[in-house]
């Protein structure tokens, strides 16, 4: 029972990071129909920002968190402006290839800048909280709490504010939204900013859990978050949350039954399965063709 519980918590913890990253994928896809493959690498940059501000500049962890989130947000918006905005009228394939290019650029740029080896640091949050007979690591609790809070803020932002509403309007009908006076550039930048900020939070949480950063850390994490977004229904915000937690729990389940070597394989098998059985995912809206 205690094993089950601790694996469940582990699952929620990994799932939190996946969910935060998956949100970025889903929001960007929802608005400009782009699979932003550079999104995973934004986490890497965020992690390095947090890492260096703590180890090299000895800043307070909280300040480092703010810096990491700011760096990710800025990077996301800059990528959108420099790489994607000029291609807005271009075929979607060009956009996709550009995204992959940006991803390579970031990964190799990081290797050049920070070196290709994995950087390790001492844990930021340590210790356990005991709950009856079980003990829960503080990192896990923190991760889950921060994620839930971030999601609550996001939900409010999207449901209640005018920028959030503009975002939903653009994702539903870009042309009509423009004709209603909604600025496309502002709305798309906002979407990238929010998605990247969530990735920044994810990167810090990842750093808390694994205490290391490497130039390619974003690619696998990004791919799994992408699977989570597809599982939840790409374009759907609640879907990305559910998908992230589901993938995290699934991985924990693999570890629990001693199949942790198969973890990655199982996740990608899920991708294939979803695409075969229900391509719209759990929460995705089906595109009903008008007859």
């Amino acid at each position: 029972m205690s094993l089950f519980f601790s694996q469940f918590l582990n699952g929620l913890q990994t799932g939190s990071v996946y969910a935060l990253v998956a949100l970025g994928y889903s929001m960007v896809y929802g608005i400009i129909l782009l699979l932003n493959f550079a999104h995973g690498d934004i986490i890497m940059v965020g992690a390095y920002a947090a890492f260096y501000s703590m180890t090299a500049f000895h800043l307070h962890p909280l300040l480092s968190v703010v810096l990491a989130v700011a760096a990710s947000t800025l990077l996301g918006v800059v990528i959108e402006k420099v790489a994607y905005t000029p291609l807005r009228q271009a075929p979607r394939l060009s956009l996709l290839i550009t995204a992959i290019g940006v991803s390579f650029l970031l990964e190799n740029g990081a290797q050049l800048l920070f070196g290709s080896e994995t950087k390790s640091m001492s844990p930021i949050v340590t210790g356990n909280v005991s709950l009856g007979s079980m003990s829960i690591s503080k990192v896990a609790l923190l991760t889950i709490a921060v994620t839930v809070a971030a999601m609550a803020i996001l939900t409010f932002l999207v449901q209640r504010t005018k920028l959030g509403k503009a975002m939903r309007a653009v994702s539903e009908d870009m042309g009509a939204a423009q004709l209603m006076g909604i600025s496309l550039n502002k709305t798309i930048s906002f979407t990238f900013a929010v998605g990247s900020a969530l990735a920044g939070i994810g990167s810090v949480l990842y750093l808390c859990a694994y205490t290391q950063a490497s130039p390619t850390m974003g690619s696998m994490l990004g791919l799994k978050a992408f699977v989570a977004a597809v599982l939840g229904g790409i374009g759907s915000i609640p879907g990305a949350m559910i998908g992230g937690f589901a993938i995290g729990l699934l991985e924990a389940l693999c570890s629990a039954v001693n199949l942790s070597v198969w973890k990655d394989g199982v996740v990608f098998a899920i991708l294939i399965l979803v695409l075969l059985v229900k391509p719209t995912g759990i929460m995705g809206r089906s595109q009903a063709e008008k007859v």
Partner: protein, 283 residues
Amino acid sequence: MSRTPRPKTKLVPQPTTNYLPERDADKRPILETRHLGIDFGGLSAVSDFNVAVGPTEIAGLIGPNGAGKTTIFNLLTNVYKPTRGTILLDGIDTAGKSTTEVNRMGIARTFQNIRLFRQLSVLDNVLIALNNETRYSALSAILRLPEYWRRERIARDRAMELLSIFDMQPLADQPAGSLPYGAQRRLEIVRALATNPSLLLLDEPAAGMNPSETSELMDNIVKIRDTFQIAIMLIEHDMNLVMGICEVIGVLNFGRIIAKGTSDDIQSNPLVIEAYLGKKKEG
């Protein structure tokens, strides 16, 4: 160096083919197009489209299917870039402006095939269109500062007021996609009005409505013009509506205006009859 004397330029008065209601005659037209035209590939979809619309005029655009009526709306809102000609909105050239900017300059429109934000509530659809007038920073929204609440309340009140034109307040919280067809058409008009236009373009507002709904819509279009003091230009196939409320009617065929005038002028114009019914057999 001696200059050869330039021949004197001869000026020719240009006959304008534009009509305005008498009450708008001494005011600047809210919309004026000059030789507006667009080609799609080799096909000239619209050519030499000249109109002037007075600031409180209700103008109608009719014509057989494929005549280029919706294309003109797309040109006016800069969804299409014109191949030739100029569009002046309240005297200002809209060339090079984005669709969003044109909307902010004062043109709002509805769509032939309804394009509401179906997943959003009726109220949110209107609130989105009010976006430009609701100003608060994202930060004050997250922190829920009094500023946010105040602006949101003003926007909400305004949205409800606009919905009340069509008595739609009770539907405010329903998803727009779940409304009956006629209500969706009305909501599109409300949403367009929320952007505070000086010219409202209605693309087949009565499509799919029954006669009693249409006659109610006619009253409402006139009411909107009277309350908001704006110009309305509409495309419609329902001749009762067009002949009933449009002060000036333009008839379009193969992308060209073939007749302009009041409903009486149009109904007796042989070119119009030919366009709609075909040529009278000789002999």
